[in-house]
Symmetry: C2
Subunit: 390 residues, 2 copies
Amino acid sequence: MMASDEVRLARAYLCGVAEPPAPALAALVAVVGPLEAAARVRQGQVPERVAKETGARCARELAAEQLRAAEAVGARLLVPEDDDWPLAALLAFSRSGYPHLAAPLALWVRGTKPLAPLTERSVAVVGSRACTGYGSHVANSLGFGVAELGVTVFSGAAFGIDGAAHRGALSAGGPTVAVLACGVDIAYPAGHHRLLAQIVEEGLVVSEYPPGTTPARHRFLVRNRVIAGLSAGTVVVEAGWRSGSRRTASDALLLGRSVMAVPGPVTSALSVGSHRLLREPGVTAVTTAAEVVEEIGRIGIDLAEPSAPRERPTDNLHHTTARVYDVLDQRSNGDVRRLGVESGLPVELVRAALGELELAGLAERTPNGWRRAPASPKHAGKSVEGCGGA
Amino acid sequence: MMASDEVRLARAYLCGVAEPPAPALAALVAVVGPLEAAARVRQGQVPERVAKETGARCARELAAEQLRAAEAVGARLLVPEDDDWPLAALLAFSRSGYPHLAAPLALWVRGTKPLAPLTERSVAVVGSRACTGYGSHVANSLGFGVAELGVTVFSGAAFGIDGAAHRGALSAGGPTVAVLACGVDIAYPAGHHRLLAQIVEEGLVVSEYPPGTTPARHRFLVRNRVIAGLSAGTVVVEAGWRSGSRRTASDALLLGRSVMAVPGPVTSALSVGSHRLLREPGVTAVTTAAEVVEEIGRIGIDLAEPSAPRERPTDNLHHTTARVYDVLDQRSNGDVRRLGVESGLPVELVRAALGELELAGLAERTPNGWRRAPASPKHAGKSVEGCGGA
């Protein structure tokens, strides 16, 4: 189902009349509906808190013009009355009860894909604009990796981590969604106009700001709550001490989303923000795309397989058997009594262990006693020195 | 108080007669005392579980010889009957109830300092032998930093992280304790014989293995429990997927100690172990010596001060004031009404904000309206672009 033109026009007016987040206006709309709310705002017949949010702009009738401007660039206004509205994701806003997490009244969407399905399995990958090569590499790999696993990457299209994450997702052929702090008709940052065009092609560019809105400092933080809200989880890749990404992460926590941070060198100022997050309760360290998907994913379906550990021939031995193996020599031959003293084990146990080791091909019987079987290549370098402090 | 020669001799015998950990023997000693336990072991009058631990070596009467060998290198046998026994630290062993965490029956100690006081404010810094330059740098800095704060660094004297941590502590003039997997008379690894000599001079070299005992693979893991137990907390700096340091960390957790891990690049195989730990419950990410000391330290005394964030001129402004500041232009002049529309704020609030900004030296009144005050050097580059995605 699609919303009526009338409703869409009213929502467009409401979107433009208050600077988001507008908790009082959002509450009014929730109670009386967009048509009635728009009428009341126009007449100034609203409670004082709504008047404070809408008074400065209530005379601006730009809705029709903004809808035309959107259409001209292949964008549309998505409203809660549309089927494609990401209701499940955005319910968390109204439930949170935090004024700064008021739900968007509508979303300007550029691109042809429907938004709601893209939010179902989704993750925000965010971080510093002035990232390091390490951060850029990790963001790109994570973007690629989660996209390969069918998860949509949300980010803010900024330089640095954001751009690397979007590009990673695009390389994997996955859709990605950029949420802007300005109108969807504005390519911001300008250096990313080609990236944004590609995102429009393969995914979506989204904003709660009407076409023509220019970016302003406070809009980036306000926008960040939309990134956090549209995604099932947020990963911070690199962030300095003071970072908008930490705000995205804190919004995500308040919205009940998973929050993850990628560790980095403690010597890097660009990982300070990630490490601060890791020291907070409820934040998970992630190092691979699989771990990210496990965190946001459906339990039992998206379980990350631990990277396979290297096998050692002695891995599955009983610890007493391993102790006998330790004291076996490769060159000289040991009798059972000497092996017992050296390993501190009774002779019966030494005998049993030697039998087990022989079966495993780890020990061999010689005319003069027992010795370690010649090392297989797999086992080379795993001598006593090889298992010291590490 | 010092233990009697008789008790020390009995403990020396018991130390040599069973390969640690020897939970059954430790339990016997706890019940009947060292003199009676030694007599019963010699006569073979012990329960089967104790016999299994002691049978292979019970005829070896090396105690007097080992005590002389210790004395020859300036070492002594520290026993629980001595005042200097680190009782508070080692109580956790008997309380843990885990057989593999049986308490040491005595400790061979090389150096002149008393051990117990060194364990009171202490941290184990452990990690991979084959560490990276990053790991070595971090271990050295942490060793230096915690030693400066009066905390003893415990480690295993191995190549890599262990050595770097000991050296860091020594550079700060602090004592450090090396716990070996061989006799204290053996310089292992040989390449660390000068480092070990310096540790003996400034701190202590400790082992539960009698003089002359050579290192064997299983002894490293068994030794790790002593490192974990003598320290108030354990920090893993760098560790591969399979790492003895993870065992130290898991022993520390079982003993009720703090466990910390230092994050590193997720692209480094040597940080995989640290990151696995960080994904486990109860493990804290640490990035500085102050954070380590806070974790192990006395609450309210050793609280880490967060690194000072950079200040911004708008930091302490009310958010509506900051919104007006955002829309103020540095070149052109804005009237109050235009600023209201751009910021989405009522005119009264804009006026109040402008007054506040003027007082703070952030806005100035001109004949034609308001503009942003020329940026101070501190504020340069903090324009809208400077606060984007990051």
